[in-house]
């Protein structure tokens, strides 16, 4: 049973000071200075470490990069080795798991952690992912505005959805948030500064963003296996795809990775880094055989994996409707549009 409190926006600095004093790192959305990227994105906001609330872009729609790097870094060292003749010493690099508060994640991003967790823990655990998850607290921020790319309400989410947040803040007016304290991790944050979370009595309903549903994810999942063999659909949808992988890198739930060694003469590291099923090399065998040689087959894999295989296998959708893949696509492919058209096709 969640509790509801009021948190003044002016109190954020006080809260951050208490969190910092308690040894917590704070990561929040921050508006970035203008770059060439501004030309293709209406705004550029990214998650970065902060110590005060001043820099936070509390009115942002979406960051370009997802918050998944906090749990699953783009590049993470796993082993370190020394090579001297026949003697090789390999040493495990213990993952860094600093107690972290992710502040201001929108509900789509907060929900993405359930998908990541399902992948990294469904069978054996993961020594690099799990300690970070255990040390991460999510203070979510409901959406008061969205854009044409947002489709959370088609995939089980919503602008005020609480899933994945330990505390969810919803702007009530220019000065204060409604704070829903949802988990023990959330209570632990409140306990650091109980005086800042004041009783909520008879507040007006907050005005959330209006995101009209475009398709029903469960119906789509049921239909996809029958659409798999229809190669012409996938070809037509992916004709513009250049296989750059940007969609996977900005996706909050894409978790495919590569393991590579980097070596100097007598030392080196083994690392894992993000990868994408959209790359032709992803499945290429040493023999030259490739199970998915065409870009249309790789596009199909992306859609099938997110909307059919993961729901069936892991019980979670591989999409939270954040819209990043479509905002960042250099050829303007729109995942929601394509998936909606699949959902509307006769079964």
């Amino acid at each position: 049973m969640s509790e509801t409190r009021i948190l003044q926006k002016a109190s954020l600095d006080g809260l951050f000071a208490k969190l910092t004093a308690a040894g917590r790192r704070i990561v929040a959305p921050v508006r970035q200075s203008a770059t060439a990227l501004e030309q293709c994105h209406a705004e550029r906001v990214e998650f970065e470490e902060v110590t005060t609330a001043q820099k936070i872009a509390a009115d942002y729609i979406q960051t370009i990069r997802p918050p998944k790097g906090a749990l699953f870094p783009r590049y993470e060292q796993m082993l370190r080795f020394k090579i001297g003749g026949k003697e090789v010493q390999a040493e495990e690099i213990k993952p860094e798991a600093k107690p972290t508060v992710l502040f201001g994640l929108h509900p789509c991003d907060a929900a993405s952690f359930a998908t990541l967790k399902a992948v990294f823990t469904w069978d054996s655990g993961d020594a690099y992912f799990e300690p970070k998850l255990a040390h991460t607290t999510v203070i979510g921020l409901s959406c008061t505005k969205g854009d044409a790319y947002c489709f959370c309400t088609s995939v089980g989410g919503g602008p005020g959805d609480t899933r994945g947040s330990d505390i969810l803040l919803t702007p009530l007016d220019a000065t204060k948030y409604l704070a829903e304290i949802l988990t023990d991790k959330g209570k632990a944050v409140v306990a650091l500064a109980p005086e800042l979370f004041t009783p909520a009595n008879g507040q007006a309903a907050p005005a959330l963003a209006k995101i009209a549903p475009r398709f029903a994810a469960d119906k789509l999942s049921a239909k996809l296996p029958a659409l798999f063999p229809k190669g012409e659909i996938w070809l037509e949808q992916s004709l513009r795809c250049i296989g750059c992988g940007a969609c996977a890198y900005v996706c909050p739930t894409c978790s495919c990775f590569d393991i590579q060694d980097e070596r100097q003469r007598y030392s080196g590291v083994r690392l894992r880094c993000w990868d994408s099923c959209g790359f032709g090399l992803f499945t290429l065998h040493a023999s030259g055989h490739n199970p998915r040689p065409k870009q249309s087959e790789r596009w199909r894999q992306r859609v099938m994996h997110k909307f059919s295989y993961q729901p069936e296998r892991l019980g979670v959708l591989g999409c939270v409707g954040c819209g990043r893949c479509s905002r960042s696509c250099p050829t303007d492919m729109n995942l929601a549009q394509h998936v909606q058209s699949l959902a509307e096709m006769p079964a």
Binding site: M78, L79, F81, I83, K86, E87, V88, A90, E92, V119, F120, W122, D123, S124, G125, D126, A127, Y128, F129, E130, P131, A134, F228, S255, C256, F257, D258, I259, Q260, D261, R263, G268, R270, R272, D275, C277, F282, T283, L284, H285, A286, S287, H289, P291, R292, E297, Q301, M304, H305, S308, Y309, E312, R313
Partner: protein, 288 residues
């Protein structure tokens, strides 16, 4: 107070940290193909390690990376594991440069197994092509070491040329055993003047020498083109999809169902495979 297992760690180990293995023996099998016998440097790790026929692992040269191969030795042979690989890319080239006494990494065993207990009392028909004999060698020796439990054993093995046949000493041994029917073949043009085996493609030889399908399990492993042409022959001989087993070789990185590379349909080849019946493969998209 409850005990919580360390996240991501099984048996006190981070699964991404390889075992340290010493190369105890090197055998050159064919041009570019070598077999390593590997022994655990940590004896305690070696004692705790066990695997079953069909499982695979990630073999690594530190500084170059990891590569996925089956365990090619039989679990009935204790104290070591063997792998056979063809030099093809960065990691296998570095592996090929190692020699006896060198240290490499291994993590595993991963994946499912051939259900050899279920096969007891049945005849076994092994069909292999080229570098695909290694995953089958594990099962062949496992069953030959438990010979009384199985009916007739037939092995059909083909390669492009005589030089490309792997495990030549073991082929000679199987050829002289009275309880094994061995048929070796090379592609037309791949024979030498001394070649005593057959000449022709594996599916053709299969049609000529296969045992009756009744009470027989067929285990097929080879390049995609061989598999594609062998399956119709088995069907013609009366084998049902449930009687036919194969092991898939999808590209992998993690080996434990996370990196996403070997995903085919709802299946992860590294977790649900690598061993599948043809009946199971028929349920999957053809992306292997």
């Amino acid at each position: 107070m409850t005990t919580v297992a360390t996240p991501g760690v099984s048996g006190g180990r981070n699964l991404y940290v390889p075992y340290r293995m010493r190369i105890a023996k090197v055998t050159d099998e064919a041009p570019g193909v070598r077999t390593f016998r590997l022994e655990f440097i940590d004896e305690e790790e070696g004692r705790r390690f066990s695997f079953k026929a069909g499982q695979f692992g990630e073999y690594s040269v530190y500084g170059e990376g990891e590569s996925t191969f089956c365990i090619a030795s039989s679990p009935t042979r204790k104290g070591y594991i063997e792998c056979t690989f063809r030099q093809a890319g960065r990691v296998t080239s570095a592996l090929a440069d190692r020699d006896e006494g060198d240290i490499i990494g291994f993590r595993g065993p991963y994946g499912n197994t051939f259900p050899i207990e279920q096969w007891e009392g049945q005849k076994l028909l092994f069909i292999a092509g080229g570098i695909a004999l290694p995953p089958m060698r594990c099962v062949i020796w496992n069953c030959l070491d438990l010979r009384d439990k199985y009916g007739d054993v037939t092995i059909i093995y083909g390669a492009r040329t005589v030089a490309d046949l792997v495990y030549k000493h073991e082929l000679a041994e199987w050829g002289t055993r009275s309880d094994v029917k061995l048929f070796t073949t090379v592609d037309p043009g791949g024979q030498t003047p001394e070649w005593k085996g057959r000449v022709g493609f594996v599916p053709t030889i299969l049609e000529q020498v296969a045992p009756a399908a009744k009470d027989t399990i067929a285990i097929v492993c080879g390049p995609p083109i061989m598999i594609k042409l062998t399956m119709p022959v088995l069907a013609k001989l009366g084998f049902t999809p449930e009687q036919i087993y194969t092991t898939l070789e999808n590209r992998m990185k993690c080996g434990v169902g996370k990196c996403g590379r070997c995903n085919v349909g709802k299946v992860y080849v590294c977790k649900d495979g690598p061993v599948f019946t043809l009946a199971q493969l028929n349920q999957l998209p053809p992306e292997y």
